[in-house]
Amino acid sequence: MIPRNLIFTAALMLLVVLGMGVYVWQIRGHVTSNTPSAADNRPVAPPVSGPTEQVILYVAYDDPGTLRAQSWKIPLPAGRQERAEQLLRALITVYVDKSSPHPLSAGAEIRDAYLIDPGLAVIDTNAAFADNHRSGVLVEELTVASLVETLSANIPGITRVRILVDGKSRDTLAGHADLSDFYDVNSMNQMVAAMQ
């Protein structure tokens, strides 16, 4: 014969299991709606405050496939490296805008810019910058030229530029523009001159 207290305990546990089953069934539908968005588009760096300065941004235009030097006023910090980062972030802001003449994906960002003497700059972009970039010789060339020209026009002394993606070297931006080597600023100037 089974003791009465064991029967009570088993019945109680069965009730608990059934109750939890009903509860899980009810909350099942809520889980997906409460899942946070996978894409977090917030900027990685805090906004910069301070005096604004006039800078030249080399903005790419898909139509007619050229770079245009444009004067912008943006807040710039005092440090040389921080200025470089801020310049490039201002440029990317132009491109991620919906009305951009050379659109980049919404998640495209500059993670860091490093200035290494003598004359070397390293631009580290995030994965979304390259992974979602449109593929084509000219469209990729415009992006690369825009970054290099903007940096070298506003930060004196830069002679070579390397572009990384998520801190790593990569063969091409999106199948065409070479990212495996350093960009020589003089050669880039000639390339941009041929574009105009």
Binding site: L138, V139, A174, G175, A194
Partner: protein
Amino acid sequence: MLMLAAVALLLSAPDEKKISIYSKAANYSLPITQKNGQDCAGLLEILEPLGTVSAKADGQRWKVRFNNVDGEFTAGKPRARIRGHDFDLHANFLIENGRGLIPLASLTQLLPQFLGGPVIFHETSRRLFIGDVSVHFIAQVNKSNPPALVMNFTSPVNPSISTEPGKLRLLFTHEPLVPSGSQTLTFDSKIIPSATYQEENGAAELTIAGTAPLFARFSNDGRTITVTAAPQVTAQAPPQPTAAPPSVTGSSSTTTTVPISRRYFAVVDASHGGDERGAAISDQLAEKDVTLAFARRLRQELEARGLTTLLLRDGDTSLTLDQRANIANSNHPAIYICVHASSQGYGIRLYKAMVPSVADSHGPFLDWSSAQAPFFTLSQSAATSVAAEFQRREIAVRTLIAPLRPLNSIIAAAVAVEVAPRGPSIAELNDPEYQQSVTAAVATGLSAVRAKLEAGR
């Protein structure tokens, strides 16, 4: 030891199982999922390229609507209801992460209900033919010297080509190729005695046996493949400057037996290929396919002008940028032409290499990234001549410099041609008339500076 065992297991892992589906709308492959000993595939994924389809999972029920046909399945049950009729499946229907999986063996029963027409399923090789889409071929050996196996296909084909001692294999992954008769063909030729057809894992393969190394070339817009023996000569390597590639393998001997068919005027490189698709020109069209079509036409146009041409990629094969430069450089052409395609912008863009202003060359060893520098003026001449020809034909053209590998590693005149449509319709990239017009302009432009280019090599 464990690491070695894991690596060995990985290396010996079989190819992923897949099913290939051929239809008038699209040819595509899908992965196979094995459940309870049955090969299954996602019904939604099968129907998606064929029409408008939507699916909804509601508990154990899975409903699908294809065009105006409704189907209903129940997870764990071997039954389906389509157009109001019940059908027995060969195994239970399954739902996995919202995907409705049906056994492959039931495809011939279910798909006609959705599609309204018959399908043919080669179950062993997992190749599904929807409608009359089959590509047939005939093969015969010409009694030329050397003998050539000429295969004529009823539609253009683009197989991957591989060789091994005594064999040349053509793998058709995207073409609904079927054998016209016997699966083994024998020929009255000592050099090409036989060819066999077989199907496996969603692909068809033609294996051509040869008693000499064989190579294949395409013509007739991809409808004809000609297989011949590669002539073998003993060649004394010419003492030319060589660009030092990043990695070097092989012997340092200067006398070697290599297959050299002839000295080419041009090396034409269809960019991308294999897994590297290049730009998505449209949902159905990849840059690698457009570049191959243009490259094949360009070879025809050049050869029609008496300019011998090597097509660097003549199938859906993967080549690294360094491999492309190596092959081009080892052939010492007068010019290297790299073909790209784009849906952005209009007309033609011609590119010369962006070469670093400071090179790191040492004697006969040229810096790999700036080996193009001594040939830049020659490349400029070629680009100018080709651009002039485009202008004469009233096709919009721009001449630019680009950081585009492997142009900067080529030790010959080198240009890249990026072809965009003339107007808003990207379908023009597939238009034979436009392809003809573009490639004829390039060939005519290069022909005009032939003497200069040949003198420069």
